[in-house]
Symmetry: C2
Subunit: 341 residues, 2 copies
Amino acid sequence: MPELRKDPIIGRWVIVATERAKKPDHYLDLPQETSPESFCPFCDGNESSTPPEIYALRPKHTHANKPGWDLRVVPSIAPFLRIEGDLDRRGKGLYDLMNGVGAHEIVIETNKHIANMADLEESQIAEVITCYIDRMLDLEKDQRFKYVLTFKNYGRSAGGSKYAHSRSQLIATPVNPKRVKEELVGSRIYYDYHERCVFCDLIRQELDSKDRLILDLDGFIAIAPFASRFPFEIWILPKKHTCDFTRLDMPSRLELANIMKKVLMKLKVGLSDPPYNYVLHTAPFRRQKLGYWKSIDHDYHWHIEIMPRLTRLAGFEWGTGFYICPLPPEEAARFLREIKV
Amino acid sequence: MPELRKDPIIGRWVIVATERAKKPDHYLDLPQETSPESFCPFCDGNESSTPPEIYALRPKHTHANKPGWDLRVVPSIAPFLRIEGDLDRRGKGLYDLMNGVGAHEIVIETNKHIANMADLEESQIAEVITCYIDRMLDLEKDQRFKYVLTFKNYGRSAGGSKYAHSRSQLIATPVNPKRVKEELVGSRIYYDYHERCVFCDLIRQELDSKDRLILDLDGFIAIAPFASRFPFEIWILPKKHTCDFTRLDMPSRLELANIMKKVLMKLKVGLSDPPYNYVLHTAPFRRQKLGYWKSIDHDYHWHIEIMPRLTRLAGFEWGTGFYICPLPPEEAARFLREIKV
């Protein structure tokens, strides 16, 4: 069973994969760059190479775990957390830990061997969004979980695997991730003072100044954030205030798919198909009506953070929480605005 | 002038290098792997290739900026922060920023073209430690600064430059880094409850259990931390309680050099000379006797965190603060204990 361990000083939870652990000498040879694989377990027809699907969008006449689907969700073959068992929170001297209970699911976004989400149709991206929502709502029913992390690793240096087939991941966790907590606390403090949502204010300011605006499309904007950590960091935010991604209605899903497609295509065209990560930050599960969560409907605002992986300045940042961004976001935004897609 | 910008939601300060910024199209081609350079600006005899030294350990008969030195400190040729000017804290709508005032210094640890600190003599590492202390005490005199970040990037994928010559960096900042603040807050909370230092308790527990102990040498221990973020993450801690690295006496500097040399050599021998970062976490400058800092003498404990760069699982972690460590620290410690150096 993997373990969730808490740093005793700053309280950060870490998944320690005691079970799928590779032997220490595995780390002797650093992973190689992508070698093109002739076989892809995520392509149409290779359904038997993945665990059985737990969700799929497929035409009525097709059968589960058989070809002909549009999108499939399968459990990770090497899950960071295990679905079975109790949390069993406990101490070990001054340390806190619990069992690594959770869910780890892989969203296979297309049955074709397409690597970059930018190359999917808008309608396919809208299906991915719908899938995220459906899976999150389902995982929320499990009383052991507090949060679902939804993210994408595109490209080897962004943590992607050797199989270059477009997919995302969902990890349901029994703790709230530190970054999300920090955002909840920070936006709560802002709300307490101003009685306004900090994200709503930020959106208004970015629409006024236009300095960091990349796209303004229907109900969404894409910006280079004022305190960007990385060159070409991009946030996508809904203009309408809402803390909870899962409440997104159908027309908004299509609008989000539209802006995501355009933003990812700008990255691809403008920066020669760079590796990137994105993470979806939304409110924790509703049942946690405590402390900082009590006014979450007013003070939090879901969004997507996209982080192209273009620089190596990482170890220092990990150790200090202090980021150095060599490219002003105003220049990044100007560059991306001008890329035609 | 570079800018220090504050994330309006979580309050993280970021250095935005508006001045030394590369053009956006610089990022079109990702940096190449190390190409061996025939010329190294950091070697003995090439003093004119660096800015004039601001500190040096050199025999009496040698002259500043001339050959024959043991260790030199020079300003960074591409500083993230500028030494001249006022902070000028100000707002811009809802955003906070200040001028990127600070110091950015390069410690050239040897006059020989040696890449890895592991290959320096212990006495040289002790000189590096003395240099850190001397520079920190000097930078503390500047009333604009609150902290000095001391760190090392070894190897290209740890953010090292193309010149593989062993050196460290010091960055004096007008703000306290987020990670250090979090440690101060966390250890304060622990102290308030237990009236003991969390690091002291941790050291005692690690010495008792020995599960994660890598080395126990004189006044220092090296451990794989309980909630390791990365495979082979290592912390070096002084057994004797002290919050302030700059108070380290001469005998302790030699002991620290001894354990650092052994730990870095174990990494080099055991893991085929991996890239790594280390950061020194010590108390902020003393003049800040406010809030969480008021009992810092009792509740904080300086230490060094070493992070080998063996995995790529980074973007997700950046976006969520949620780490997944594929190797249990107990196994990492056992492996490193058995490496003979």
